[in-house]
């Protein structure tokens, strides 16, 4: 049933989309996501999917058409990166507010300016408050697996929220890796058929979507969205459990790597987690109690579970692949540090901003972070709360 193949991240995501066989895909090319659209176009051209492919003239229209298709009762998808996501912005919020279970792979890329086609997380971190569930993938395998699980999470009646599935631009999207994929039939069975309760093409029950709601109802709509996001946590775990039975691969809200007895640790997302694990292994050989937490689910933010997993750590570094220009660290730093606020131990938490615009992150960078943590652990003091890694200063 499972088959080992060598695919790039973009090929793996495109394959997942082919196997999910959505009713509608509306998408626009943008580096480094372009290949996904190209691969998917060839599936359409060769009759390998039932999808109606809408070749829109912009990302704004990509999300708009996807919203229209999803509201109409279709399983609908799009895909994007960086400035494309930024152009969609307005409608990204509308998709979530209208509770449309759209799945969108986002190949992470730096936002302009300067224009840059390489990886960082500024694009999707900016969309963190848009009401979408966000799943980050370390590699092609995770991107493939997250895509398939995303459909079930999004469409779950307790959730009904759109899901973004992230992978790092070029590093993963264009890197060739071995992974296990499932056969079409297994994916088809796993995702099932989309049967919405309310949709535009229900001739017996016409509906009005996207009405005007002012001070009398808007707040209730937002409150319900917040509740759906809260519900998503358990659904993500349930879907992961079911997916494990099928694939043999285990997913949670995050991955704890050698954390149990760790004294110093880093929190990291996506491809840099691989580099991080390599460094942790090396430090462990040297007898240092190093560990790593790789966050998969950033929205909803699993604050309780994170606090539980990190409560015994003495010095912690949060690795941010985005700036938030707050003078208070990147977008991952603040919620991690806040999640640890109620932990009794006096954990020192510092931030490292790294890899912006595709700047390489290599083992010596992460070794430096752990060396700093060793010192913080010993002295209980740190030089800087927010640090920049691998940049000319």
């Amino acid at each position: 049933m499972n088959k080992k193949v060598a695919l790039t991240g973009n090929e793996a995501v495109a394959l997942s989309m082919k196997q999910i066989n959505p009713d509608v895909v509306a998408a626009y090319p943008i580096t480094p996501q372009t290949e996904i659209v190209q691969f998917f176009s060839s599936f359409v051209a060769n009759g390998q999917v039932d999808t109606e492919f809408v070749t829109v003239e912009s990302e704004h229209s990509a999300m708009s058409a996807t919203v229209g298709a999803s509201a109409a009762g279709a399983r609908a998808m799009t895909a994007t990166s960086a400035n494309g996501l930024a152009l969609m912005w307005e409608v990204v919020y509308i998709a979530a507010s209208n509770r449309l279970p759209i799945v969108m792979p986002v190949v992470n890329r730096a936002l302009s300016a300067p224009i840059n086609i390489h990886c960082d997380h500024s694009d999707t971190m900016g969309a963190r408050d848009s009401g979408w569930i966000q799943l980050y993938s370390e590699n092609s395998q995770e991107a493939y697996d997250n895509m398939i699980q995303a459909v079930r999470i999004a469409e779950h009646p307790d959730v009904l929220l759109p899901v973004m599935v992230m992978m790092d631009g070029f590093i993963i999207s264009h890197g060739l890796e071995n992974l296990e994929v499932m056969d079409d039939e297994s994916v088809k069975d796993f995702v099932g058929t989309y049967k919405p309760d309310h949709y535009l093409l229900d001739i017996e029950n016409p509906i009005t979507m996207g009405p005007l709601a002012l001070f009398d109802f808007y707040f209730e709509v937002k409150r319900q969205q917040a509740e759906a996001m809260k519900n998503a946590k358990d659904v993500i775990l349930d879907v992961a459990k079911e997916y494990k039975d099928l694939s043999g691969r285990e997913y949670g809200l995050f991955e704890s790597y050698k954390l149990d007895d760790a004294e110093i640790a880093i929190v990291v997302m996506s491809s840099a987690a691989g580099t991080g694990k390599y460094v942790v292994d090396k430090l462990r050989e040297e007898g240092k109690k190093a560990g790593l937490l790789k966050l998969r689910v950033f929205r909803p933010f699993p604050h309780k579970e994170i606090a539980e997993a990190l409560k015994h750590i003495k010095a912690l570094a949060v690795m941010d692949r985005a700036e938030s220009f707050s003078d208070f660290g990147g977008p991952l730093f603040a919620p991690i540090r806040s999640a640890l606020f109620d932990v009794k131990n006096d954990i020192k938490v510092v931030d490292y901003i790294y890899g912006l615009g595709g700047r390489d992150i290599v083992p010596p960078h992460i070794e430096k972070v752990f060396n700093d943590l060793e010192e913080i652990k010993e002295t209980g003091k740190y030089d800087k709360l927010v640090n920049y890694l691998g940049v000319r200063e």
Binding site: D23, V24, A26, D50, T51, E52, V54, T55, V56, E57, S58, H60, S61, S64, A65, T66, V67, G68, A69, S70, A71, A72, G73, A74, A76, E90, V91, I94, L200, L201, D202, I203, P206, I207, T208, M209, G210, P211, L212, A213, F217
Partner: protein
């Protein structure tokens, strides 16, 4: 064709109880267009007066399924709905036949939504797009758009001590849409209900995208006495400011040729937004408007093979 009496007895898709102003052209135009539909519809709508006045949660004035997404994306949104229909129909997941129509004001169509509309038309979706042209951003309080007539007083082209209202002539959107080589594009007026009904019917019937630009006056923005709406609509085509024509598979056809050309100032003088043009120092603007109306009319006659 259904007579006006028969049409008035048809169950209205846009029901009463909506909150459009008395004397607004939107409700009249929308009902006339929808009266020509025979299949069930899904209706898309850009942000604007029509949307805010008909879908105040938890109420809706629409008997058909309706979707409002945002301001500039009604065309892209309805194209997504149509794509969903094609896909679900092909797969046998739905059985019923539907038609798809989107409404946008001139702000949402000529300006901020032009790209979305152009894309949807080029892709060839089987949709009808109707622009309800009242010549300004009325919903936000009468700001000028690229559909606003030369000389009009709006809140962003106000009549001041130095500048006497809007400086530019309006964009010719109907011609721009016709140049997309879509199967059907037309310009119409609710005052000529027979003409509008026929155009809406053709728009629904053609395979592929159709566009109709309908003049839909705004009593607040144009500053007219509300019962005068019919006269204003009539004078718009009698003066040839708003010619009635259609372009069917590339064939341009003039639908109405006034027997006698009425000077454009007859149309202008019924509207408060042009009042300042009748001051001596501004009369030259009326002459300029007349000259531009004459010039565009000649171009249209040429295109329609009337010369």
């Amino acid at each position: 064709m259904a007579t006006l009496k028969e049409q008035s007895k048809k169950e209205q898709i846009l029901t009463g109880g909506h909150r459009l102003c008395a004397g607004c052209g939107h409700g009249i135009a929308v009902r006339m267009v929808l009266n020509a539909a025979e299949d069930p519809l899904v209706i898309g709508c850009a942000t604007g007066c029509l949307e805010v006045a008909t879908t105040i949660y938890p109420y809706t004035a629409w008997r058909s399924s309706f979707i409002h997404n945002a301001f500039e994306n009604a065309a892209a949104t309805i194209s997504g709905v149509e794509a969903a229909y094609k896909s679900l129909k092909k797969q046998g997941k739905i059985k019923d036949d539907f038609k798809f129509i989107a409404f946008g004001g001139d702000g949402g169509t000529y300006d901020i939504g032009l790209q979305s509309l152009s894309g949807a038309m080029e892709r060839g979706h089987n949709i009808v797009y109707v622009c309800l042209d009242n010549g300004a951003y009325m919903n936000t309080g009468i700001q000028r758009s690229s559909a606003t007539p030369r000389g009009a007083d709006t809140t962003t082209s106000p009549v001041g001590k130095v500048i006497p209202g809007k400086q530019q002539f309006r964009k010719d959107l109907t011609a721009i849409m016709a140049e997309h080589n879509i199967p059907y594009a037309a310009q119409a007026s609710p005052n000529n209900w027979r003409d509008l009904y026929n155009k809406a019917k053709k728009a629904f019937e053609v395979e592929g995208p159709a566009f109709i630009n309908v003049m839909a006056p705004c009593p607040r923005g144009w500053r007219y006495n509300t019962p005068d709406i019919a006269d204003i609509l009539k004078l718009a085509y009698e003066t040839r400011y708003w010619p009635l024509y259609e372009v069917e598979n590339g064939e341009w056809k003039l639908n109405y040729k006034p027997k006698k050309y009425v000077p454009v100032e007859e149309w202008l003088k019924l509207q408060g937004r042009f009042r300042h043009l009748f001051r001596d120092e501004n009369r030259y603007i009326i002459d300029e408007i007349q000259a531009e109306v004459d010039r565009r009319w000649e171009v249209l006659l040429e295109r329609c093979g009337e010369k």
